[in-house]
């Protein structure tokens, strides 16, 4: 079905190839998962499959790519549209029309299918991806998960034999991600479509994969059975980390398999002290009462009380559209607030002048690039120092502490996701705010990137900042947060210590918790610490 023969891709101006000597055969009806660190050739590999690389992106491709019997050398993406469905990273950016039904039909119109056939397939696809109720809704009004399903449906209507998806669940809350994955597994199992997808959130998808393709740092790939490839992949979900820790052979990839192997582990853990690390939160720094945010007649936040303490990391969770971002912006003071009070040290940030506002609450928005507008990292740092009237090098110092080794002359848009986030965070920290808010900081970060961010946020908390982050990433929350606040329809539905909140809900429980249930361990490092206690001193 897909054949790559000694494929090497080099982009102009790049010293090393993005892909090197890739030999790959993907048979029909497989679900293939492409894994690898951020910023290495995962998207390039996906792009070669429908000719976007190099027809659209530029660069040089040597070797041969054959898809559904056609060589991509002679077939640009538009001529492969009937054979390969392609869903890019941001589905909303790829929408051509403005209503669900028309978007589903767009690809078929290009192929010149008969109107009767189109009508039939649109109806079938609406059922397949579960969008019947939304068929005449404007695309802009849909949630992120619904938009992703529209994009998948739109790629499916021309009946391609191959479906390629770039990070289909990264931006989705756990529930919406499950819906999308359910659609994908149905396509593979019922319709025999070959699915190739790249994903960072391996804990969500690795169990469904028939084959894993790991892209290495030098651009070569390793393909094989998931349990073999994951055994020494440099990105690994918690379940694999746990398996490696316990030397489980073969590596279990689903919670079910892992639980069956974990009897012994659970017995050992029962003997040890549960991981309650008596972190005691400091004084309250930010206290909000009855916060309401409305947009016209729609209510985004409906009377939320929340208190943030110094030295504490609080995670804000909830579905897409449950009011997380609106709450963060209202707490920061820049966003609208219809009613309620917010106080940081007795001052309402919304009423404070801009300079003081930044010293009270710093916010890193959903897309950190919005904060950046200069040509180099150095200029951005210098501008931040000047804007906040602090000593030269303050911002640069923060950046060095967050991630070392960012080239000062690099363009901010050329940085990796993690470095760009760190730069935005460093700029906001230059004003030394008492409260730091982050909106979806883990988007696009791989596991090592998330580990680094965890360390960063913990050290901010240790310095006495109060930290709150909105996120969908349950594994990240388990590792970083002391407290979890769950929002639904703009109201707080649960607020408490991380362990209590995530263990009480199957949706928010991290993999380790599901494996050792009913024991209260959440992360692999916690389990490792329990099994190998540090040498007892003075006892």
């Amino acid at each position: 079905m897909i054949l790559l023969d000694r494929v090497t891709v080099t982009y102009a101006g790049s010293p090393r190839p993005a892909l090197r000597d890739v030999d790959l055969t993907i048979p029909e009806g497989e679900l293939c998962l492409v894994v690898g660190r951020t910023g290495i050739g995962k998207s390039t590999l996906l792009g070669t499959l429908n000719g976007l690389v190099p027809h659209f992106t530029g660069g040089t491709l040597s070797g041969r790519v054959e898809v559904a019997g056609r060589d991509t050398r002679d077939h640009p993406p538009r001529d492969l549209a009937d054979a390969v469905g392609f869903v890019g990273q941001d589905p909303a950016a790829g929408f051509v029309t403005d209503v669900v039904e028309e978007e589903l039909a767009y690809g078929m119109e290009q192929l010149g299918l008969d109107p009767d056939v189109m009508r039939k397939r649109v109806e079938e696809t609406l059922d397949l991806v579960g969008l019947v109720d939304l068929r005449d809704r404007p695309l802009a009004d849909l949630s992120a998960g619904e938009q992703q399903r529209v994009a998948i449906g739109a790629a499916l209507t021309p009946h391609p034999s191959i479906l390629v998806l770039d990070e289909p669940t990264s931006a989705l809350d756990p529930g919406a991600a499950e819906d999308v994955l359910a659609v994908l597994t149905r396509l593979v199992h019922d319709l025999g479509i070959t699915v190739v997808l790249a994903e960072h959130r391996l804990e969500r998808v690795v169990q469904y994969a028939d084959r894993v393709i790991a892209v290495e740092r030098d651009g070569t790939v390793t393909a094989g059975r998931p349990e073999d490839v994951m055994a020494d992949s440099d990105v690994a979900p918690p379940i694999v980390e746990l398996g490696r820790l316990r030397n489980w052979e073969p590596l279990p990839l689903s919670v079910r398999d892992a639980r069956r192997r974990a009897h012994e582990l659970r017995d050992q853990l029962r003997e040890t002290e549960p991981p309650r690390d008596g972190r005691h939160p400091g004084d309250p720094v930010l206290s909000a009462r009855g916060v309401i945010v409305t947009y016209g007649s729609a209510i985004a936040v409906a009377g939320v009380d929340v208190t943030l303490h110094a030295g504490e990391v609080t995670a804000l969770m909830g579905r897409n559209g449950s009011g997380k971002s609106s709450l963060l912006w209202a707490l920061q003071g820049t966003g609208p607030r219809a009613a309620g009070t917010v106080e940081v040290g007795g001052v309402d940030p919304a009423a404070a002048p801009a300079e003081q506002q930044r010293e009270l609450v710093g916010l890193v928005p959903h897309s950190p690039v919005d904060l950046l507008y200069l040509e180099t990292v150095e200029e951005e740092c210098a501008a931040a120092d000047a804007d906040n009237a602090v000593a030269d090098g303050t911002c640069r110092g923060h950046l060095e502490r967050l991630v070392g080794g960012v080239r000062p002359d690099a363009h901010p848009r050329d940085l990796s996701e993690g470095e760009r986030l760190a730069l935005a965070l460093a700029i906001q920290l230059t004003a030394s705010p008492q409260v730091v808010l982050l909106d979806e900081p883990t988007r696009g970060l791989d596991y090592p990137g998330k580990e680094q961010l965890t360390a960063t946020l913990r050290s901010l908390a240790a310095d006495g900042h109060a930290v709150m982050l909105a996120t969908h990433d349950v594994e990240f929350v388990a590792a970083v947060a002391d407290r979890v606040v769950v929002l639904a329809e703009g109201e707080v539905v649960s607020d408490g210590p991380t362990g209590d909140v995530v263990l009480s809900s199957p949706v928010f429980a991290p993999q380790v918790a599901k494996i050792v249930r009913p024991l209260p361990w959440l992360t692999v490092p916690e389990v490792a610490a329990a099994l190998e206690p540090p040498l007892a001193v003075g006892r």
Partner: protein, 374 residues
């Protein structure tokens, strides 16, 4: 409505956008031929009644009000100009101080006595322009402009897509600049001067470029621009036919619509132009492989709408030929205008679509909460 009274033709649906545009252009054509305020008001009323009966609760459906306001502004501007740049006439209504202009501007007087003749001429003229504007507004309110683009002939399909995409750029830019503006406040970047402008424009433009690239990649992956190889000779023939068509239509329309000109050569030139244009589009569309999903049907309500619009235009033109002067009541000396019967009946026929067309489908559900930071 009980189930038994519903007939298939009366099921709620959208009337073909092209039909609405032809109807509205018919009314607008009628308006260009007359300065008779009674007739113009009748045309306005006709457009208003049909829009009130058949528009949907959509952004474009709500835009009719804007066109009404715009029409009123046009009338006001016309009158103000007539008052300031006083024309001739004997019936002085009130006086304005006259502005002394340099000698090289002889023939232009600003201020001075304001005459009833000048006021009326301004009013009639403004009303005519305003009415034409409102007719276009009516078409816009009745037919989704994007659906109109979907109805363009196959040869123009790709151009239609480009226009649809371009139309969605506006809201996106607004959204993106709002996001960046808020982010800028977060960071405390200066908001004034060159640096302020730069901190807004650079991220917004970068965002727009990235979006366009992603959209282009998505469209390419979905088969946009697939076509058969077309011989150069065929392409040249198509181009020649289209250019000849555009020229013929422009010249023919100009000659026909100019009441002082010799209208005799207008009709044949226009006919040749239309034929050549249609041939060009057909020739260009022969090699296009795209098809349309759920095209709007064209059945008897569409014919009724088109016929009503054409009747209004033809009736008014005929009335002008049969009773010269009835369409342009005299302003000097000022007389009370009379309503020409033939023209009035023709315009009234244009109300028929409000009665015979099927009702538009019910409004889509209300918009969800906007994603603040997305």
């Amino acid at each position: 409505m009980s189930a038994s009274t519903i007939r298939l033709g009366a099921l709620p649906r959208n009337v073909h956008p092209v039909a609405w545009w032809i109807w509205a252009l018919g009314l607008a054509t009628a308006a260009t031929w007359t300065t008779n305020p009674l007739l113009l008001l009748l045309i306005l009323a006709t457009a208003g009644v049909v829009v009130a009966a058949r528009r949907t609760d959509s952004p474009w459906g709500r835009s009719f009000r804007v066109y009404l306001a715009l029409g009123a502004v046009v009338v006001a501007i016309r009158i103000v100009f007539r008052v300031l740049l006083a024309g001739g006439g004997d019936t002085t209504v009130f006086g304005l101080p006259e502005l002394s202009l340099p000698s090289w501007l002889t023939g232009v007087t600003v201020g001075g006595p304001v005459t009833l003749e000048a006021l009326l001429a301004g009013l009639y003229d403004g009303l005519r322009l305003g009415t034409m504007l409102v007719c276009v507004g009516a078409a816009n309110a009745l037919a989704n402009p994007k659906r109109l683009l979907r109805a363009v002939p196959g040869a123009l399909y790709e151009m239609g897509t480009v226009l649809v995409v371009a139309a969605s750029m506006g809201p996106q830019l607004a959204q993106s600049s709002e996001r960046v503006r808020r982010a800028r406040r977060l960071r405390g970047v200066p908001t004034e001067g060159l640096a302020g402008l730069r901190s807004l424009v650079v991220p917004v433009l970068e965002d727009a470029f990235e979006r366009s690239l992603r959209l282009a990649a998505a469209m390419d992956s979905r088969g946009y621009g697939r076509r058969q190889a077309v011989a150069a000779r065929h392409r040249r023939t198509t181009a020649a036919l289209v250019v000849a068509g555009v020229l013929g239509i422009s010249i023919g329309a100009y000659v026909l619509l100019d009441p002082t000109g010799t209208g005799d050569i207008g009709v044949p030139v226009l006919a040749v132009g239309v034929l050549s244009g249609v041939a060009g589009l057909w020739s260009g569309g022969r090699y296009v492989e795209t098809t349309r999903y759920r095209p709007d049907p064209w059945t008897w309500p569409e014919w009724a709408v088109v016929l009503a619009g054409v009747t209004a235009a033809v009736g008014v033109v005929a009335s002008g030929r049969l009773q010269p002067g009835s369409l342009a009541p005299s302003v000097a000396p000022p007389t009370w205008p009379e309503l020409p019967v033939l023209a009035a009946v023709a315009v009234l026929i244009a109300v028929v679509p409000a009665l015979v067309t099927p009702a538009p489908p019910s409004a889509p559900r209300a918009a969800a909460i906007p994603e603040v930071a997305a």
